[in-house]
């Protein structure tokens, strides 16, 4: 095991954790407003495919990222229409959205399989200029990676330090009381879903445009569900989501390390770590969970007569 290999592993963990953190932040916003988005997997796929397609057509990764975010927001609005306006069941609607994403992304991405794109520029982590070239190539990150932690702080600020965030959390706790105090639960939930979808779109953009730099069907490989798990793990808090994403990245890194050092642990079993860890954390909290989850998460707001 060389130092180079260890650095390589850390570098790839940072790459794979970034898209996950953006997605998790998006789902934190959705769920804080009281809506579980189980269709995240589908949202990611549509964002990734449309962003990749636009990047490939226009040659501009920035335009691609923008379209990814927009696509994510729009996909979430479909969910919003079903669960907010039509008052449909959230879990079933989310799963329907997932199937929609499977189909739509396959259609969008059909003619972009194995296409090459110009990706985002990669900038060396400041302070590492002295390292040999072999090493520096591992620490060249794209702007989206540098932006992900500030984004988590921004989401925290948005939720906990602005009037909008206060209203959003109020709706997530009790829509009736929020309505009584003069807020519009429907509008706030639509806004939350759109913003959350844009963040998920950013995660998908990082995955397809900056990291993988290609499009394949089902390329998200369960990231949507991992993000849903990480939201619970981080107790619906954007800053703890950083820890969640770090642990997940560490699990990925650990798995790569073991493989490269020849230890025989099945990658399949290592893949279960994030889920089992979340489960253990949930059990460890026990009854405390009630204090962390938004109280009206998953409930339909029937309107106010």
């Amino acid at each position: 095991m060389t130092l180079l290999a260890i650095f390589g592993v850390i570098s790839s963990a940072i790459f794979s954790g970034t898209s996950l953190l953006y997605t998790t932040l998006g789902e934190v916003i959705d769920e804080r407003s009281g809506i579980v988005n189980l269709g995240l997997e589908g949202v990611l796929l549509v964002s990734a495919s449309s962003g990749f397609a636009v990047t490939s057509l226009t040659g501009s990764p920035y335009l691609g990222i923008l379209v990814s975010m927009l696509a994510g927001g729009l996909m979430n609005l479909i969910l919003g229409y079903l669960v907010i306006t039509r008052k449909a069941n959230q879990l079933a609607s989310g799963l329907a959205l997932m199937f929609c994403g499977f189909g739509l992304s396959a259609l969008i991405g059909k003619s972009f399989v194995a296409v090459k794109i110009h990706s985002l520029p990669r900038l060396l982590l400041p302070g590492l200029q002295g390292l040999p070239r072999l090493y520096t190539s591992l620490f060249k990150f794209d702007p989206l990676i540098y932006l992900v932690i500030p984004m988590a702080v921004f989401v925290w600020w948005l939720l906990y330090r602005t009037r909008w965030g206060l209203g959003l959390r109020a709706v997530g706790e009790n829509a009736d009381i929020a309505y009584a105090s003069g807020r519009n639960p429907h509008l706030i939930r639509y806004q939350a879903l759109f913003v959350g979808g844009m963040l998920a779109g950013l995660g998908a953009a990082h995955l397809a445009i900056a990291y993988a730099m290609n499009w394949t069907e089902y390329m998200t490989a369960g990231r949507g569900f991992i993000a849903v798990a990480l939201v619970i793990f981080s107790k619906w808090h954007p800053l703890r989501a950083i820890v969640g994403a770090l642990i997940f990245s560490a699990a990925v890194a650990f798995q790569l390390l073991l493989q490269s050092s020849g230890v025989q642990i099945s990658p399949f079993l290592l893949d279960t770590i994030p889920y089992l860890l979340t489960l253990i954390v949930l059990i460890a909290w026990g009854g405390n969970r009630k204090h962390s989850a938004p109280a009206s998460l998953g409930r339909v707001y029937q309107g106010s007569e």
Binding site: A88, L97, C100, D271, T272, L282, R299
Partner: protein
């Protein structure tokens, strides 16, 4: 919401509730097909020809029809795996994981006892499949019953774990000599019998019989009554002396056992081999079918049939129209969207 008689005063036949519901559903399905048609049109395919393909390939021939019934089997069973726990208010999103573990247990039986005769081996596989699903469902059921963690979250997490365990087992122990993503083919004795020279296997009858038993059980037995009582108001039921914890754990495990049976029926009746990632969201499909139909047995059969037609037809669309197979998921999603968007017409779809 308008009363039916106010909305359609001139058509007395439509005031009949059954006829009205039928027309309503027909309208919804047509709407979904219209939306998908627009998508096809945009992507340069002829929607009318595509629909003709879908229907002639599924309902136009005896073989096509039999394939629809084959596709229906796992949906019937996984939907029941959700509908049963739903009666005591449990939300089992974990059919997908329970199905995988059930399939793994059943495959273990098929590979280990391969020299037993079919009349002995198949019951063993069914038992093992149900045991596997039940064990996997016991975790969320127990955690819920002692008030620790919500079953929605745990079943969802365990869904993602189950297929990875299967992957581990296949890669490490069970893979065939030629292929690392599947086990060797099961021996003939480990296959559920098929009928009429088609791929329809015993799973179809098992599914239909289970749904009938479910209906009778809920309607005519004391347990059914007590389960409905728990579903209506768990705390009131507990104060009336119904053993709540016992019911929650048992019913969750029964749901898991049924999902496990669906897994067994897929590997034994359909594939004849345990494959990596073979389910492709069957468990989630069952969840939606159950939720959209309010868990009513007849509704489950009808909804499964509609979805089976769409999915089976999609297979052909890929061959004849050059549409990627997963695009058929869009038609499926549109159908689900329109049904979801009309909650007042579908019992139980409100949360």
């Amino acid at each position: 919401m308008l009363k039916i008689s106010e909305a359609l005063p001139r058509f007395p036949i439509i005031q009949n509730k059954t006829v009205f519901l039928f027309i309503r559903y027909l309208y919804m399905i047509l709407l979904a097909f219209l939306l998908f048609g627009i998508i096809l049109l945009i992507s340069g395919k002829d929607p009318l020809q595509s629909y003709k393909d879908i229907f002639t390939s599924t309902l136009g021939s005896a073989y096509g029809f039999s394939e629809v019934l084959v596709a229906m089997i796992p949906m019937l069973i996984t939907a029941l795996a959700v509908a049963l726990p739903a009666r005591v208010g449990l939300i089992n999103v974990g059919g997908e994981g329970q199905l995988y573990i059930g399939a793994a247990f059943a495959s273990f039986g098929a590979l280990t006892f391969s020299n037993l005769p079919a009349w002995l081996l198949l019951p063993i596989m069914i038992f093992l499949g149900m045991l596997g699903g039940a064990l996997w469902a016991f975790i969320p059921g127990y955690l819920k019953a002692i008030g620790l963690v919500n079953e929605t979250i745990t079943t969802l997490l365990l869904n993602s774990v189950a297929p990875k365990i299967i992957g581990f087992l296949i890669f490490r122990y069970w893979h065939s000599a030629l292929d690392t993503v599947k086990t060797p083919n099961f021996v003939a004795a480990a296959r559920l019998p098929t009928f009429f020279g088609t791929r329809i296997h015993l799973g179809l009858f098992i599914g239909l019989i289970l749904l009938a038993i479910f209906w009778l059980f809920m309607k005519y037995t004391r347990w059914g009554l007590e389960m409905r009582a728990i579903g209506n108001n768990a705390q009131a039921a507990r104060r009336n002396g119904i053993p709540l914890k016992k019911y929650l754990i048992t019913v969750m495990c029964m749901g898991g056992a049924i999902a496990g049976l669906a897994g067994m029926s897929q590997v034994s009746g359909f594939y004849g081999v345990l494959l990596l990632n073979f389910s492709m969201s069957l468990g989630f499909m069952g969840f939606m079918i159950s939720w959209l139909t309010g868990g009513e047995p007849l509704g489950i059969v009808l909804m499964s049939f509609v979805i089976a037609v769409i999915i089976t037809g999609g297979n052909l669309l890929q061959l004849t129209r050059g549409v990627p197979y997963s695009v058929i998921n869009l038609l499926l999603a549109f159908t689900l969207f329109v049904v979801l968007a009309r909650p007042s017409f579908v019992k139980g779809s409100k949360s």
